[in-house]
Symmetry: C2
Subunit: 154 residues, 2 copies
DNA sequence: TACTATTAGTTGACATAGCAACTGTTGATA
DNA sequence: TATCAACAGTTGCTATGTCAACTAATAGTA
């Protein structure tokens, strides 16, 4: 289509996407090992720091995760006392998820970790390059998933 | 360190890395569903298309995967008849992995799929942007993993 | 009101991935 | 040569994530 037909090599974005994602994961995991929180719970906590009182599926949207994983992580987070689930009286199908004090206390710690990992990842990039990277990643998501990540509002 | 201390927001590279990676995975999975091959076997086949007769750990290096996953995927690939494992007579600890005819036959199909997914991902990006994306992803990997992906030679 | 479709959440089965402990082989060196 | 460290591969355990089938509640509509 948009590539000339004698070219054999493709741009290995998928490869470096996979590797970068795994490096990101294991870096994050290492940073979290001193805290009573697992890597998988993080996206939901971060989403909650962004907006509370929303449903599980709404929280999923923030990181485009499956609702099944939300169920499991929410159970974990609730058991550990970081969040509470309240039935929405106006729609008994859904819950509204809130942070507890314990969950709120974790905010500066987790934000600090994200701040740190973020600045580690971007070492040697100027501000323009960082923005370009985010822009191009969003574009990739849009191309693969047929939705615009900027349209997802929590 | 390299960010001013009143800034609250961090560059959400990790977020979009995670989402993009998952979108990439599910897109790939969908493309593979008509073929007798699973997503997890792919990186090892691709590495073999790049270079045959190397050890399992060598193959791991290409996508920076754990050797444990190599064992499992290699077993799967061998059971399905895509590869053969031969003990290296000069070092009985390691195997040398080779493609079978069946594995070789899959090459154009898988390369086609990668070609397609690659051009899907890069829709709306010019050639310069594609290169920048790869460059910045590599930089991210280098920053997180303390190794240069360009130094990994299979 | 009754029927139907949609939605939020749940569950089970399964694939992918990482970590740590292990076996057997090799290489270095005392 | 004997000992010890390093290495390739293996295994078990666990975490993460997807998919499909399911339940219960709601919304839309004949």
């Amino acid at each position: 289509m948009n590539n000339n037909n004698c070219k054999k090599e493709f741009i290995p974005i998928g490869k470096y996407l996979s590797i970068a994602h795994r490096e990101f994961n294991s870096y994050l995991k290492a940073k979290l090992k001193d805290y009573d929180i697992d890597r998988g719970e993080l996206p939901f906590l971060i989403a909650l720091y962004h907006k509370e009182g929303v449903s599980q599926q709404n929280l999923c949207a923030y990181y485009q995760l499956d609702k099944a994983i939300a169920v499991r992580m929410m159970k974990k987070l609730e058991d550990q006392g970081y969040v509470v689930k309240k039935r929405n009286p106006e729609d008994l199908r859904q819950y509204k998820i809130y942070l507890t004090k314990k969950g709120e206390d974790l905010r500066p710690i987790l934000m600090g970790i994200f701040q740190e990992i973020s600045s580690t990842m971007t070492e040697g990039m100027d501000e323009r390059e960082q923005k370009v990277l985010v822009k191009l990643l969003k574009r990739t998501i849009k191309n693969l998933g047929h939705y615009d990540p900027d349209d997802i509002i929590l």
